[in-house]
Structures are given as C-alpha cells and as structure tokens.
C-alpha cells in the first residue's frame, strides 16, 4: 500500500490524512465544488475535484471516486464514516479494480447492513437481542401466550405500521388483552392489516457501544465501550468512556458479546457493536453493528492510546493487529462533545454560515479534531459537524471539569453552535449522576 484516496471530507478526511502520514503513505483528497475552501484539500498530497456540490454528484458518486483513484494510481481507498463507508457494492467495486477498500469485506458490510440478517447473525453467536415474538398476531389468545414468554412490559407494534399508529405499551398481563384489541383495530384501520408484533418494552435505555477490531489472521479483540446516551433524535451529541453505569462484570460481558460476534463472522477491520442498556435490570441488547470507523472513535483513542485509523490502515495492508496478547488496556475517562453548526434554541436547526471568530481551546489533555477555521463558510450540503472536543481526565469528575474549562475558553462567533448546549448538559445533575437516557435531551430541553 503506497497511496490512499480519502473518499470523504471534513474532519475525518484530515484525521485519515494524519494517520497516512504516520505510515508514510501518500494521500489523494477528493472534493466537491462546494468544498473548494475545505482544509483536507490543502492537507493531502494531491486533491481532485470530483463533482458538483450535492453529495450524490460528488462524495457519493462511486464511479467518479473510483476513476479518481485509478487515474491517480491509488492502491487503497479509505471511506471514513458516512458517504460510501457502508455501501457493500462500493467495497466490491474497489475489490474488482484491485484497490484495497479500508474496511471489512463487502459481504460483512451487506450482512450487517440488513437489519433482519444482522439480528439473526447476532442471535446465532449468542448476542442478546430485545426479546420479541417470532411472528405477528391477530388472535388475542395466541398473543397473550407469547406475551407471557417474552415478559412485561410489552410493546405492541403494528406489523405494517409506522408513525406510532397501532402502537401500545402493556405494563402487565391484566391490561394486555384490551390494549391488543385497540392496537389491532387501529392497525387494521390505518394499514389494512391488524397483525401485531410483540417486543419487550425497554424504557429509558442507555446507548452503549463496543469498539471491536479484527484482522485477516483470525484475531478479534475489543477496545472497550463508549456510552453515547446523550443524543437527540438518534443523533449523538456527547460520548464518553468508560460508561458510568456499567459494573465490572457487565462491562466484561458486553465487551465479550461484541467480540463473539466479531470473531464469529470473521470480521476484518474496525467496527462498532451497538447495544441498548437497561440500567434497572443490567440487561443489554444488540441493536446493530457499524462496519466503519465511528465519529466518536477518539474517545477510545484517549483511553487506550491506540491510533485506530493507523490500525485500520495496517490491518487493510494485511498486517496482524498490533495489540498485546492480554488485550488492550483502558485508563482514565474521556468525553467527546460534538460541536455542530446547529442552533439549540431553535430546535437544533442547522445553521450554515461564515465563522467570524473561531478560537478553539488549546489545553493539556484536550484534543480538538476539526476542519474549520476563521473565515470558513459552512456549506449547507453536508453534515453540521464543526469539530469534536475530546477531553481526558484521570476519572469522570476530572474529565467533566476539564471539558467545562475547555468550553469556557472556546470562542466561536458568526454562526450558532452547540457549545452552549454542552455547557448546560455538563453541569446538569442528571448528567452528573449518570441518570440520562437516550430520550433525555428531547424531554429535558423543551426546544430540542
């Protein structure tokens, strides 16, 4: 591997270029017409303008990106996150052109991209799933029997449904039959199908994910977990590690479950196995596996000292995982805050515009991954991430205190950002005592 095309933009493109430099790999950046002033163009050894501003005509244009890779004689493509990172057919096309796709095989991407297939696979390797019925019911007696075996509270969902119609929560057996009838007739009226599917209802869950890594020599390991419970409409805003709610044995169990799946499917490269966690019962359930590097990977890097992107490049080149035999050690506490061009006072509306002032903090144990600069115009075509502020402390308390200090010395003007939101969360009693859940931002921040 000599030259890597980076099929992405923004902070992750810069992050990948940095890892390539460490390994003395040459880099080719690609960019759209909207990104003429984007920093990854200057950071790479070479840059190729691949298309017009809309992502579909540039960063998602598989043919243009492959052509750029071939014409510039790249022997590998790093897809970053988002865009083409989880498109199985793109990984396959790279392979067909004898270009190394820095990620898992097309088969692994496809398997985990199909939610039903991913659930079946997880089950096969003993990873716990949210208990649910195999099929759907129209008969209340059969449904009641199934409900008993799943356990209460039960979520009733219309098989054909969506948008909350035909959905009910039965807290106990006494209320089940009545709610089933309601849900079924509502589903019949709305979708022409009264079939109801049952699932254990898990309220107020936390989002916990495990960083995993596999190599081409059959080894699979975990690099511990990240807790991403502060999110808004499934968009993560704050990630931290280790999770403040896991005890030692649950932590081992969730990490081992993730490794079982990774090893079971012979996964190669960096991946993340996502779970929901019920702090009340200490149970965790598989949601999905992301077959790419995650936005929040620096949390793991701060805790373990591992450069995950360098490791990705090495593994893609066929090398063995560089981690010690006993596994990777995690020390201290790390918190990542996503600084987005969004206005928290207006329902987190995206706020493109020009950064009149931009002075990120420079402090010990604070890392800032970003592609923007003073005078930079945030285009409206792509995501709103301006940068990621990652803070390390010997424990959670110190990491939080340092994060607040970093926020206080952060100056950004010209566009609305999530800086003020982060300060509110970091000083909120619910965050401090780790009682937040994945719907917490929506309920706590009225405008959210």
């Amino acid at each position: 591997m000599k030259r890597v095309l980076i099929a992405n933009r923004g902070e992750i493109a810069l992050r990948i270029i940095r890892a390539c430099r460490k390994l003395q790999l040459e880099t080719v950046a690609v960019y759209s017409q909207a990104d003429d002033n984007c920093a990854h163009i200057w950071a790479a050894d070479r840059a190729v303008r691949i298309g017009a501003a809309p992502a579909g005509k540039s960063y998602l244009d598989q043919q243009a990106i492959l052509q750029a890779a071939l014409s510039t004689e790249c022997d590998a493509v790093h897809p970053g996150y988002g865009f083409l990172s989880e498109r199985a057919e793109f990984a396959a096309k790279c392979e067909a052109e004898k270009i190394t796709f820095i990620g898992p095989s097309a088969e692994a991407i496809a398997m985990m991209g199909d939610k039903a297939e991913a659930r079946r696979t997880a089950k096969r390797f003993g990873v716990p799933l949210v208990p649910g019925s195999e099929g759907a019911f129209t008969d209340v007696k059969e449904a009641t029997k199934a409900a008993e075996s799943i356990g209460y509270p039960i979520l009733l969902k219309a098989l054909a449904g969506g948008g909350g119609r035909g959905m009910r929560v039965a807290l106990d057996a006494a209320s089940f039959a009545g709610l089933f009838q309601q849900a079924s007739s509502e589903a019949l009226a709305a979708f022409g199908d009264g079939s109801i599917y049952l699932e254990r209802f898990v309220a107020k869950v936390r989002h916990i994910e495990v960083q995993v890594f596999g190599d081409k020599h059959g080894r699979a390991v975990h690099l511990w977990e990240r807790d991403c419970s502060v999110q808004r409409r499934h968009q993560k805003l704050i990630e931290e590690g280790p999770s403040p709610v896991l005890d030692a044995s649950t932590r081992r169990a969730i990490c081992n479950a993730a490794v079982e799946l990774t090893a079971g499917i012979g996964y190669v490269g960096a991946g993340t196995v996502e779970f929901i966690y019920d702090a009340g019962t200490k149970q965790f359930f598989f949601i999905e596996m992301n077959t790419r590097i995650q936005v929040e990977h620096p949390v793991t890097e701060m805790l373990t000292g591992v450069d995950l992107v360098v490791e990705q490049l090495r593994v893609a080149a066929g090398e063995r995982l560089s981690f010690p035999k006993g596994g990777v050690k995690s020390e201290g506490h790390a918190i990542e805050l996503r600084i987005n061009a969004e206005d928290p006072s207006r329902g987190f509306a995206p706020a493109p515009g020009t950064l009149a002032k931009w002075e990120p903090p420079r402090m010990r144990d604070v890392r800032f991954d970003s592609h923007v600069y003073r005078g930079y115009s945030v285009p409206s075509y792509y995501d709103s991430l301006l940068g990621k502020l990652i803070t390390y402390g010997k424990d959670r308390k110190e990491a939080i205190a340092r994060s607040i200090l970093a926020l206080d010395s952060f100056r950004a003007e010209g566009i609305a950002t999530t800086l003020s939101f982060h300060r509110q969360v970091l000083t909120h009693p619910d965050f401090l005592d780790a009682s937040v859940h994945t719907r917490w931002v929506e309920t706590e921040f009225a405008n959210g």
Binding site: R15, R18, A43, G51, A52
Partner: protein, 163 residues
C-alpha cells in the same frame, strides 16, 4: 457610519477600474481587504490537530496547486478565457480523449471551425464514455488538457472563439 452593500459594490467598481492588485480600506473600524483573483497569498492556517505535528507536504505539482489561496469558483485549471472566448468545461471527472479511438484522428485541432453540437472530445469514467459537444459556433482557440489526462469536474477543456 457602517458600510452598506452598495458602498462595497461601489468601492469594488472603483478598484476594478484601477490598475491595483490588492487594497485594504478601513472605515470606522470596518476593514475591507480586496485582492484580484489568481494572485497568490498564504492560505488560512490549517486547524489545529491533535497528535504529532504533520510532516511537510510533499511538493507535488498538485499539492502546490492545492496550497494556492482559496479562489471561489476557480476551476482546477488553467487559462482564464478572454472576453470573446467561450469555455467548454468538464461536466464530470474522468479521462480526457481527443479522438473517438486511438486509431482515429482527433475530433478537433486548434483552429478547427466547429458548429454547435459538433463532438469535441470524450470523457471516460469507469469505461463509460461521454461525448462532449460544442455548445456554440466558432473556432477552437485552445485545447487545454493533453490526450489521456485526468480532468476534474468543471475544469476548462476548450476555448472557442465565438463566430
């Protein structure tokens, strides 16, 4: 008295009519800095990144080109068309071919007279060939890429002297 949009437009007109390359104006604390397109200056510093300091960029021609200052709307090319000239730009990234096949003569040469709709070149993207045609009548004044070059999106391919 703050500068209005109209003021700024007026100032730009005055500068445009002058022979200046670069000018700074300060009025009541409002600063304005104007530079003609295409003149070099240092780009904004890269945002700080964690980790070891990056090694210096290898100075390939492309890297040098990329380090030129931000030029909005500047295609990754080349000559600026004169006012009477019409430019044909690449509608996509790809390999630029001047002839329908290696055995055939080029579609056009410098000096060729073309009519709107005449084929000028092919662009290949992953074995898919697109014919690029003239969108005006005129005479080919310049052919910018060489046969087989990678052309980037919106790069100028031909300059046509309008008929």
């Amino acid at each position: 008295m703050p500068l209005t949009y109209k003021d700024v437009a007026e100032i730009l007109k005055i500068i445009d009519a002058s022979g200046l390359d670069e000018i700074s104006i300060e009025v009541d604390g409002a600063k304005m800095h104007v530079r003609r397109a295409g003149r070099g200056s240092a780009p904004e510093p890269l945002p700080p990144m964690a980790g070891p300091a990056p090694s210096p960029v290898r100075a390939t021609p492309a890297a040098r080109a990329a380090q030129e200052p931000a030029r909005p709307k500047a295609a990754p090319a080349t000559a600026a068309p004169q006012s009477s000239q019409h430019s044909i730009r690449a509608p996509m990234l790809g390999s630029f071919y001047r002839a329908p096949s290696p055995k055939d003569p080029p579609f056009v040469e410098v000096g060729s007279l073309v009519k709107r709709g005449d084929p000028l070149c092919l662009i290949e993207v992953m074995k898919l060939f697109t014919t690029i045609s003239a969108d005006t009548d005129g005479q080919i004044a310049q052919i910018l890429p060489a046969n087989g070059d990678l052309v980037e999106f919106d790069q100028i391919l031909f300059l046509i002297e309008s008929a």
